[in-house]
Protein backbone atom coordinates (compact mmCIF):
# COMPACT_ATOMS: atom_id res chain seq x y z
CA UNK A 1 0.00 0.00 0.00
CA UNK A 2 2.71 2.44 -0.99
CA UNK A 3 2.47 5.57 -3.07
CA UNK A 4 3.84 3.61 -6.02
CA UNK A 5 1.11 1.02 -5.81
CA UNK A 6 -1.68 3.58 -5.61
CA UNK A 7 -0.80 5.54 -8.72
CA UNK A 8 -0.02 2.35 -10.62
CA UNK A 9 -3.38 0.93 -9.60
CA UNK A 10 -5.19 4.03 -10.80
CA UNK A 11 -3.18 4.25 -14.02
CA UNK A 12 -5.37 1.55 -15.55
CA UNK A 13 -8.71 2.87 -16.89
CA UNK A 14 -10.49 -0.40 -16.18
CA UNK A 15 -9.44 -0.33 -12.54
CA UNK A 16 -10.55 3.28 -12.20
CA UNK A 17 -13.93 2.27 -13.64
CA UNK A 18 -14.17 -0.61 -11.18
CA UNK A 19 -13.31 1.73 -8.33
CA UNK A 20 -15.94 4.18 -9.54
CA UNK A 21 -18.57 1.44 -9.54
CA UNK A 22 -17.60 0.50 -6.00
CA UNK A 23 -18.05 4.12 -4.96
CA UNK A 24 -21.72 3.68 -5.85
CA UNK A 25 -21.97 0.93 -3.30
CA UNK A 26 -20.56 -2.36 -2.07
CA UNK A 27 -20.53 -5.14 -4.67
CA UNK A 28 -19.15 -8.63 -5.08
CA UNK A 29 -16.83 -9.66 -7.91
CA UNK A 30 -19.61 -11.11 -10.07
CA UNK A 31 -21.80 -8.02 -9.76
CA UNK A 32 -18.79 -5.87 -10.62
CA UNK A 33 -18.28 -7.74 -13.88
CA UNK A 34 -21.70 -6.65 -15.17
CA UNK A 35 -21.20 -4.11 -17.91
CA UNK A 36 -17.52 -4.98 -18.34
CA UNK A 37 -16.36 -7.13 -21.25
CA UNK A 38 -13.86 -8.81 -19.00
CA UNK A 39 -13.12 -12.38 -18.01
CA UNK A 40 -13.60 -13.45 -14.41
CA UNK A 41 -9.86 -13.88 -13.74
CA UNK A 42 -9.13 -10.45 -15.20
CA UNK A 43 -11.56 -8.84 -12.75
CA UNK A 44 -10.11 -10.89 -9.93
CA UNK A 45 -6.62 -9.67 -10.81
CA UNK A 46 -7.74 -6.05 -10.99
CA UNK A 47 -9.38 -6.34 -7.60
CA UNK A 48 -6.17 -7.84 -6.19
CA UNK A 49 -4.23 -4.81 -7.44
CA UNK A 50 -6.75 -2.36 -6.01
CA UNK A 51 -6.76 -4.23 -2.71
CA UNK A 52 -2.97 -4.33 -2.36
CA UNK A 53 -2.92 -0.61 -3.14
CA UNK A 54 -5.29 0.00 -0.25
CA UNK A 55 -7.99 1.40 -2.50
CA UNK A 56 -10.60 -1.28 -1.82
CA UNK A 57 -11.36 -3.60 1.07
CA UNK A 58 -12.91 -7.04 0.94
CA UNK A 59 -15.24 -8.94 3.21
CA UNK A 60 -15.95 -12.64 2.75
CA UNK A 61 -19.53 -13.75 3.21
CA UNK A 62 -20.06 -17.40 2.43
CA UNK A 63 -18.83 -18.00 -1.08
CA UNK A 64 -19.18 -14.34 -1.99
CA UNK A 65 -16.57 -11.66 -1.49
CA UNK A 66 -17.95 -8.18 -1.05
CA UNK A 67 -15.74 -5.33 -2.14
CA UNK A 68 -16.00 -1.72 -1.00
CA UNK A 69 -14.00 1.50 -1.24
CA UNK A 70 -11.21 1.74 1.32
CA UNK A 71 -10.84 5.37 2.44
CA UNK A 72 -7.18 4.75 3.35
CA UNK A 73 -6.20 4.71 -0.31
CA UNK A 74 -7.93 7.98 -1.03
CA UNK A 75 -6.34 9.47 2.06
CA UNK A 76 -2.94 8.49 0.67
CA UNK A 77 -3.59 10.39 -2.54
CA UNK A 78 -4.93 13.30 -0.59
CA UNK A 79 -1.78 13.36 1.49
CA UNK A 80 0.40 13.30 -1.60
CA UNK A 81 -1.61 16.12 -3.12
CA UNK A 82 -1.33 18.04 0.12
CA UNK A 83 2.44 18.26 -0.33
CA UNK A 84 1.85 20.45 -3.37
CA UNK A 85 -0.85 22.62 -1.87
CA UNK A 86 1.23 25.70 -2.63
CA UNK A 87 0.45 25.19 -6.31
CA UNK A 88 -3.34 25.32 -6.19
CA UNK A 89 -4.42 28.37 -4.21
CA UNK A 90 -7.21 28.87 -6.72
CA UNK A 91 -8.87 25.79 -5.28
CA UNK A 92 -9.28 27.21 -1.81
CA UNK A 93 -12.78 28.52 -2.39
CA UNK A 94 -13.95 25.15 -3.66
CA UNK A 95 -12.50 23.47 -0.58
CA UNK A 96 -14.25 25.92 1.69
CA UNK A 97 -17.52 25.14 -0.02
CA UNK A 98 -16.85 21.42 0.31
CA UNK A 99 -16.26 21.75 4.02
CA UNK A 100 -19.45 23.73 4.42
CA UNK A 101 -21.34 20.95 2.65
CA UNK A 102 -19.79 18.35 4.91
CA UNK A 103 -20.64 20.26 8.04
CA UNK A 104 -24.32 20.19 7.20
Amino acid sequence: MSEVDIFKALADPTRRAVFERLADGEKNATELREGFALSQPAMSQHLAVLRSAGLVAEQRSGRHVHYRVNPDGLAQIHQWLHRYRAFWPQRVDELKQLLQEMDQ
Copy 2:
Protein backbone atom coordinates in the same frame (compact mmCIF):
# COMPACT_ATOMS: atom_id res chain seq x y z
CA MET B 1 -4.20 16.05 -20.51
CA SER B 2 -6.82 13.50 -19.62
CA GLU B 3 -7.34 11.63 -16.36
CA VAL B 4 -5.69 8.60 -17.92
CA ASP B 5 -2.53 10.50 -18.75
CA ILE B 6 -2.20 12.00 -15.29
CA PHE B 7 -2.32 8.76 -13.32
CA LYS B 8 -0.11 7.02 -15.86
CA ALA B 9 2.39 9.84 -15.64
CA LEU B 10 2.49 9.60 -11.86
CA ALA B 11 2.64 5.81 -11.86
CA ASP B 12 6.35 5.95 -12.64
CA PRO B 13 8.52 6.59 -9.54
CA THR B 14 11.17 8.43 -11.53
CA ARG B 15 8.60 10.85 -12.91
CA ARG B 16 7.17 11.46 -9.44
CA ALA B 17 10.71 12.22 -8.22
CA VAL B 18 11.22 14.64 -11.11
CA PHE B 19 7.92 16.32 -10.32
CA GLU B 20 8.91 16.57 -6.67
CA ARG B 21 12.18 18.27 -7.61
CA LEU B 22 10.28 20.74 -9.76
CA ALA B 23 8.04 21.53 -6.81
CA ASP B 24 11.15 22.87 -5.09
CA GLY B 25 11.59 25.34 -7.88
CA GLU B 26 11.85 25.87 -11.63
CA LYS B 27 14.67 23.93 -13.29
CA ASN B 28 15.90 23.13 -16.78
CA ALA B 29 16.35 19.60 -18.09
CA THR B 30 20.09 19.47 -17.36
CA GLU B 31 19.67 20.68 -13.78
CA LEU B 32 16.92 18.12 -13.28
CA ARG B 33 19.26 15.30 -14.26
CA GLU B 34 21.56 16.02 -11.32
CA GLY B 35 21.19 13.24 -8.79
CA PHE B 36 19.45 10.94 -11.25
CA ALA B 37 21.33 8.08 -12.89
CA LEU B 38 19.48 8.71 -16.10
CA SER B 39 20.47 9.46 -19.67
CA GLN B 40 19.56 12.78 -21.22
CA PRO B 41 17.00 11.29 -23.62
CA ALA B 42 15.34 9.38 -20.78
CA MET B 43 14.83 12.61 -18.84
CA SER B 44 13.58 14.32 -21.97
CA GLN B 45 11.03 11.55 -22.49
CA HIS B 46 9.87 11.70 -18.88
CA LEU B 47 9.41 15.45 -19.15
CA ALA B 48 7.41 14.97 -22.33
CA VAL B 49 5.07 12.60 -20.50
CA LEU B 50 4.67 14.97 -17.56
CA ARG B 51 4.05 17.86 -19.94
CA SER B 52 1.40 16.06 -22.00
CA ALA B 53 -0.30 15.07 -18.75
CA GLY B 54 -0.53 18.72 -17.78
CA LEU B 55 1.64 18.25 -14.71
CA VAL B 56 4.51 20.47 -15.78
CA ALA B 57 4.85 23.49 -18.06
CA GLU B 58 7.87 24.53 -20.11
CA GLN B 59 9.33 27.87 -21.07
CA ARG B 60 12.06 28.18 -23.65
CA SER B 61 14.83 30.65 -22.92
CA GLY B 62 17.59 30.57 -25.46
CA ARG B 63 18.85 27.04 -25.70
CA HIS B 64 17.54 26.20 -22.26
CA VAL B 65 14.07 24.94 -21.48
CA HIS B 66 12.83 25.77 -18.01
CA TYR B 67 10.32 23.40 -16.49
CA ARG B 68 7.94 24.18 -13.65
CA VAL B 69 4.94 22.59 -11.94
CA ASN B 70 1.67 23.15 -13.76
CA PRO B 71 -1.16 23.56 -11.22
CA ASP B 72 -3.70 22.34 -13.79
CA GLY B 73 -2.50 18.77 -13.40
CA LEU B 74 -2.79 18.85 -9.63
CA ALA B 75 -6.22 20.41 -9.98
CA GLN B 76 -7.25 17.46 -12.16
CA ILE B 77 -6.26 15.00 -9.44
CA HIS B 78 -7.96 17.10 -6.85
CA GLN B 79 -11.14 17.10 -8.90
CA TRP B 80 -10.99 13.33 -9.28
CA LEU B 81 -10.46 12.95 -5.53
CA HIS B 82 -13.32 15.33 -4.88
CA ARG B 83 -15.74 12.86 -6.47
CA TYR B 84 -15.04 10.47 -3.62
CA ARG B 85 -15.20 13.03 -0.83
CA ALA B 86 -17.93 10.99 0.84
CA PHE B 87 -15.31 8.40 1.76
CA TRP B 88 -12.91 10.53 3.73
CA PRO B 89 -14.85 12.46 6.35
CA GLN B 90 -12.03 11.85 8.80
CA ARG B 91 -9.92 14.24 6.76
CA VAL B 92 -12.18 17.23 7.31
CA ASP B 93 -10.25 18.56 10.29
CA GLU B 94 -6.98 18.42 8.41
CA LEU B 95 -8.54 20.33 5.54
CA LYS B 96 -9.87 22.97 7.87
CA GLN B 97 -6.40 23.42 9.29
CA LEU B 98 -4.96 23.64 5.80
CA LEU B 99 -7.38 26.37 4.84
CA GLN B 100 -6.58 28.31 7.97
CA GLU B 101 -2.89 28.12 7.06
CA MET B 102 -3.60 29.34 3.56
CA ASP B 103 -5.66 32.26 4.81
CA GLN B 104 -2.76 33.58 6.81
